[in-house]
Amino acid sequence: MRPVLWLVDRPESWQAFRYALELAARRRSGLVVVCDSDLAGRARSEAEAYRVPVEVRTPVGEPPEVLLVRTAEEEGAELIVAASRTPTGKVVLGDRLTALLLNAPGPVVVFKPPRPS
């Protein structure tokens, strides 16, 4: 029952990552991170401070949402994603995130940054 996080190189996604690490630390569950391979190193080193075992999965030859949906199915836990916020405070989901909301097998946590990033 490890939560599954989608990490991209945007400030709100890193904030969501820290939220997911805190959640996983309290639950003593570990965390699965889906991200491009160039983010894996930084993700692992940030996770060390939380003492959360992190498994990184990288989409190869498929859109990230396909891997995310499959991983969430395998783990049986929630999917954690980040929405962005515009300068006027609007929350923007975008096509990929809405596809995930519709296709995720279980609950989806949408992390929203309190301020534009």
Binding site: R85, T86, V92, R115
Partner: protein
């Protein structure tokens, strides 16, 4: 109340409306507009439903943006703002209180804000709008905005402003 008038007109229901550059003397009247704003008219999470978050959100817009208000008898009935992003462009947001919608106030408010922005050196304005928000879409189209990105949920529209002549 503030006195920096940008426009005066009569709306489609015969009400006298004036558009002002926002100054802090309008704050409580503006806050009152958002306090009584119909929650079902919220778009893309703004104005925030929680009163404290709403106030914080409004203060950020007032601190960071170029703001204009539409007023009728001392009551604020509309608010439009340009907030700078990190790329030297400005994001637009506009709200008209539900009691004053459909009376032509939004387009006058938008025009006044864009003119004020132009005078203050704004050259690029963009906005995010939900695909099904037809009233907003026609307002932006009539003001000269053009769609630059879109998916089934949200669209981005843009407008270039030209430097004032003379």
């Amino acid at each position: 109340m503030g006195t920096d008038v940008l426009a005066r007109f009569t709306d489609r229901l015969g009400r006298r409306i004036a558009i002002y550059v926002y100054d802090p003397s309008w704050y409580s009247a503006l806050l009152e507009m958002y306090r009584t704003f119909d929650p079902s008219q919220q778009a893309q999470g703004i104005p925030p439903l929680h009163p404290l978050r709403m106030e914080r959100w409004l203060q950020t817009l007032l601190e960071e943006g170029i703001n204009v208000v539409a007023a009728c008898d001392g009551r604020v009935v509309g608010h439009a703002v340009l907030v700078p992003d990190r790329a030297d462009a400005y994001e637009l947001a506009i709200f008209v209180h539900q009691d004053f919608q459909g009376a032509g106030i939004g387009s006058r408010l938008l025009r006044a804000l864009l003119e004020l922005g132009r005078q203050r050196g704004v050259r690029e304005v963009w906005l995010s709008v939900e695909t099904w928000n037809h009233r907003a879409l026609s307002l932006y189209r009539n003001a000269g905005f053009r769609k630059v990105e879109g998916d089934q949920w949200e669209q981005i529209w843009k407008l270039e402003l030209h430097a004032p002549t003379g």
